[in-house]
């Protein structure tokens, strides 16, 4: 084949290699998807309305349930983009993992990138 349409893929850094998540187009702005990582843990990947990509741990530290990917994305008055847990609604900064409602809590953040195929 000579002409290949390029699709952009979302990838997550796992250890020293990149794990493919899905096509960029599969992500709906303002929502997330869950990703199963090779070691059995889970990540939550989001796209915001400015088309920025985020990845954090999927586990909600307040309940232990693996559900953050199913939360709603929002932004604060000073522009921090966060996801609100669908269970008890605590908010987590998607860039830093910091819980906006309880400074003592923080969730892991993953490195994500867009790669062309």
């Amino acid at each position: 084949m000579t002409t290949v349409a390029t699709t952009t893929r979302v990838e997550l850094l796992t250890g020293r290699s990149w794990t493919t998540v899905c096509d960029w187009e599969r992500l709906v702005p303002g929502r997330g998807v869950a990703v199963l990582l090779p070691d059995g843990t889970q990540a939550a990947v989001f796209r915001d309305h400015a088309d920025r990509l985020y990845a954090v741990a999927n586990r909600d530290p307040f309940t232990g349930a693996y559900v953050l990917s199913r939360g709603l994305v929002g932004s604060t008055a000073d522009g921090r983009v966060y996801v609100a847990s669908p269970l008890l609604k605590q908010r987590f900064d998607l860039a830093t993992g910091e819980c906006l409602d309880d400074e003592t809590v923080r969730i892991p953040v993953h490195t994500a990138r867009l790669g062309d195929v």
Binding site: T19, T41, T63, Y66, R70, G79, L87, R91
Partner: protein, 873 residues
């Protein structure tokens, strides 16, 4: 080895015991800035850093040991505190000024702080050391109880006080038949009086915990070294596999005794009002100390005050002496509110009691007042709503602004009375945990220009302990802001300055069909903002309820709507605590054929779901994973079921009684009417959920007056009641109109619902809406019955559109491959089930496995290494 204070130029502070109070002492020292003037050595017996013992029981609801830790990571390092875990101190040499640990390590001190807490008292009965006997104080205790309970069927708690009832709740939660044995004639003898204990007992027994009061434990019956039962002083016996002793605590004062410090006759390290022991270089704080007022405090707040006092002395700051503390408490035990405050037992001379008691609903309220009407204290069981506003008034000497009896009577019997914040004097303590007065809260607003409750919390610390004062705190803040002329923000959320009702009008009039457009044109957030978890679903719901008018798609999985909905709407199912979902098919009016019942049974069996009959006359199926939802629903839809909208802010069910078809009293066909109403209003998106019921005669078996709109048959037709509610704030619905024929009834309900949807706030049920809206019921009747605003034709048209536009969301979803794509657990591994969703058996069905969720390690450990699930990519 000996570390001498001489090796460092700074004086050494040694803290023995790293529990809640010890930690608070370190925090206070750090806050005062004096931490770097001392070398601080912490010798802790437990294998972990200080944790939240008060919240210990939440370990059983899934909080891990790490979640319970009090300090943020790196706290000790940052302040240079040397913490040695698993290093109990065995002796103190006051002459040499050293302490020696059990492992033989010796540390010199200049100042010694004892914060050794207390130990659970175990009565000296035979068999108390058998396998299966436990105490309830540390994380290790709970781990041991949890492990043992897995093989036990019956558990008994010795002691019916605060801790005993918490332990009983935990055993119940672990699925054991649970007994509580209390020596005193009532439960919680320290906090509540006889009437309160009785109300508490009835409610707790209704939950299936068996309560034995007035009996002492004689022996634990032991077989093969294991507890098998108990015998009691009245000669009775109980078979049980697990016993928790919770018969009070005793101060851990042995170290102090051994080195000759003064201790109280009944235990506790004696201290003066600056928490100093009989040796001026040694302090004692928390549960191990015997305060100057002759009491040992078994609550955390007084311990915190002591910790603060000692830290202030070390920082050379002015220090508030500790002379005693308030024992007021408000707790939720097994879901029952219990509060006691001030002079709860009426020991003040000449005090009088005002009592309200309703044994049917387990409510007991007692206020203790002086002859001239000033509040001294009180006890509240079953409904402790008033605690935060009453406690600060107790003991201030000011007469109550309203008669005391109006404060204990339930809402609805005459004008309900609640105290505004203006009733409180400035020196009334609003937050008991942090000893913050109303005056301090007010000055946070006036002097430190705090404008929101979170800011006031940060500034004063009020509300950051048990949280019971937050409601009062927010009234004070709002009142204060209004008084100082600050415009109080009535906006929906940080993104919109409008209320929900205003946004509804904007959407309707300007025909705005997306959240993004509304946010861009009418929001107050900076450009490009995302919106938030409050406005997204609210606006989504407004757009959905106006969809036909806006010519937008009403289906909540379409277009932008997909990104606005809470996860429940997003997956058309209700998210449960372990990440699984429930499935609730609609069963209109609660009427169902045997064939359909069989289908529900087969589906539940084939997918291994937990089934439960709800209070809404239908059946919930629990425990489905995201990827099972479409398979389950395709079977249900094929059998003629449709979505029950249990996930949406929309109509739930219209319950019905049997009605005139079968019942000898019935005067109308309540079942037919209920089915008709449920089918008419199904899928209607509203500010909050809507519930309804239809009764076939005045006996009211369907409990229609507890519903948002309730219908009761008369011999001439139907009576319509509106604004009813059950649950925590019950309200009987008010009569809107009587003796309506079928057509009149439906027209009136159409108008009423649309008027509510148009004007209510977000998450405002019809009951609160009816009480808030100006003019109340009379105004609503004017609008919907007499058409005083001339909008009834509009309201009816809106409803007609809704009815015409209705489609079953699940049938539509199954038919659309695009929508179906989201029903996978993992985007990178479709078909792989979520390994964190597992179940354990209970009463022949399943329940969520929460242990698996406690930490990430638990999940990884449970993963089967041979499982090739990750290779599917």
């Amino acid at each position: 080895m000996t570390t001498s204070p001489m090796t460092t130029s700074k004086p050494t502070v040694v803290l023995v015991g790293y529990g809640m109070v010890g930690h608070r002492f370190l925090e206070a020292l750090a806050d005062s800035g004096a931490a770097d003037r001392y070398r601080v050595v912490v010798l802790a017996e437990e294998p972990r850093h200080a944790y939240d013992r008060v919240a210990l029981t939440s370990y059983f609801s899934g909080r891990s040991a790490d979640d319970l830790l009090l300090a943020e990571e790196g706290f000790a390092d940052r302040h240079g505190f040397e913490v040695h875990l698993s290093s109990p101190v065995a002796s103190i040499d006051r002459d040499a000024k050293t302490v020696t640990t059990a492992a033989g390590h010796t540390v010199g001190y200049d100042t010694l702080v004892l914060a050794t807490g207390s130990y659970p008292f175990v009565p000296p009965v035979d068999g108390k050391d058998a396998e299966g006997c436990f105490v309830y104080r540390t994380i290790e205790d709970l781990e041991a109880i949890e492990a043992y309970a897995a093989t036990a069927n019956v558990g008994a708690v010795v002691g019916g006080g605060l801790l005993g009832l918490e332990a009983a709740g935990a055993l119940k939660g672990l699925g054991l038949e649970t007994h509580v044995v209390e020596f005193a004639p009532r439960l919680m003898p320290v906090q509540v009086d006889e009437g309160g204990g009785e109300a508490l007992r009835r409610t707790i027994e209704e939950m299936g915990v068996v309560v034995h009061t007035g009996v002492g434990t004689k022996t634990v019956v032991v077989e093969d070294g294991k507890a098998r039962g108990m015998t009691f002083t009245d000669g009775s016996e109980l078979e049980t596999d697990l016993v928790i002793f919770s018969a009070g605590v005793r101060p851990r004062d042995q170290l102090a005794r051994d080195c000759g410090l003064d201790v109280g006759e009944r235990g506790g390290i004696a201290v003066d009002d600056f928490c100093k022991t009989s040796d001026e270089n040694v302090f004692a704080i928390g549960e191990c100390a015997l305060a100057v007022d002759g009491r040992v405090y078994g609550l955390v707040a007084p311990g915190y005050e002591m910790a603060q006092a000692v830290a202030q002395q070390l920082a050379d700051e002015a220090c508030k002496p500790f002379t005693g503390a308030d024992l007021s408490t408000k707790l939720k035990l097994l879901g029952v509110d219990v509060a006691s405050f001030g002079d709860a037992f009426g020991t003040t001379e000449g005090s009088l009691d005002v009592v309200y008691s309703d044994s049917r609903s387990g409510i007991y309220k007692k206020l203790v007042v002086t002859a001239d009407g000033a509040l001294l204290g009180g006890i509240l069981v079953g409904d402790a709503e008033a605690y935060s506003s009453l406690r600060p008034l107790a003991g201030t000497g000011n007469p109550l602004p309203v008669p005391a009896e109006s404060l204990v009577l339930p809402a609805g019997s005459g004008a309900p009375v609640s105290l505004g914040s203006s009733a409180l004097p400035d020196d009334a303590v609003v937050c008991n945990c942090h000893n913050v007065t109303k005056g301090q809260v007010r000055s946070a607003v006036t002097e430190h220009s705090c404008t929101t409750v979170p800011e006031v919390k940060k500034c004063t610390k009020a509300g950051t302990g048990c949280g019971s004062c937050i409601k009062l705190l927010s009234t004070i803040v709002t009142d204060e802001l209004e008084a100082s002329g600050v415009e109080v923000d009535k906006g929906l959320c940080p993104c919109f300055a409008h209320t929900r009702a205003e946004l509804y009008e904007i959407v309707r009039v300007k025909r705005i069909a997306t959240h993004r457009q509304l946010l861009a044109e009418h929001g107050r957030a900076p450009e490009g903002a995302e919106g938030c978890e409050v406005c997204k679903p609210t606006v989504g719901s407004i757009i959905a309820s106006l969809a036909p008018e806006l010519e937008a798609s009403g289906h909540i999985l379409d277009g932008e709507q997909a990104a606005l909905q809470d996860t429940n709407d997003h997956f058309l199912a209700n998210l449960q605590k372990n990440g699984s979902y429930s499935v609730v098919p609609r069963i209109p009016g609660g009427e169902i054929t045997p064939e359909k019942l069989i289908v529900i049974g087969e589906v539940a069996r084939d997918f291994g779901l937990y089934t439960k009959i709800t209070g809404g006359q239908r059946i919930d199926l629990f425990g489905a994973s995201v990827d099972q939802l479409p398979q389950i629903w395709s079977r249900l839809v094929a059998a003629g079921f449709e979505s029950g909208h249990a996930y949406g802010k929309s109509l739930r069910t219209v319950k019905s009684c049997v009605g005139s078809t079968w019942c000898r009293y019935g005067v109308q066909d309540s079942v037919a009417m209920a089915i008709h109403l449920e089918l008419r209003y199904r899928g209607l998106r509203s500010p909050h959920k809507l519930k309804s019921a239809v009764s076939g005669c005045a006996r009211e078996c369907a409990e229609a007056r507890g519903k948002d709109f309730g219908v009761i048959a008369t011999s001439n037709g139907w009576n319509l009641y509106v604004g009813g509610n059950g649950g925590a704030t019950p309200r009987h619905a008010d009569l809107l109109a009587q003796d309506l024929d079928d057509e009149q009834l439906i027209r009136l309900i159409d108008r009423f619902l649309m008027f509510y949807i148009r004007t209510a706030d977000r998450l405002e049920r019809t009951s609160t809406w009816l009480e808030r809206i100006e003019g109340g019921l009379d105004h609503v009747r004017d609008v919907v019955v007499n058409d005083s605003l001339g909008i009834c034709a509009d309201l009816e048209a809106l409803m007609a559109n809704h009815v015409a536009d209705y489609q079953d969301e699940w049938a539509a979803t199954l038919a659309d491959p695009d929508r179906m794509r989201r029903f996978v657990s993992f985007v990178n591994a479709p078909g792989v089930p979520d390994p964190s969703i597992r179940f354990t058996p209970e009463r022949d069905q399943i329940k969520p496995d929460l242990v698996l969720l406690a930490t990430e390690e638990e999940l990884l450990a449970a993963l089967d290494p041979d499982n090739a699930l990750l290779e599917t990519r």
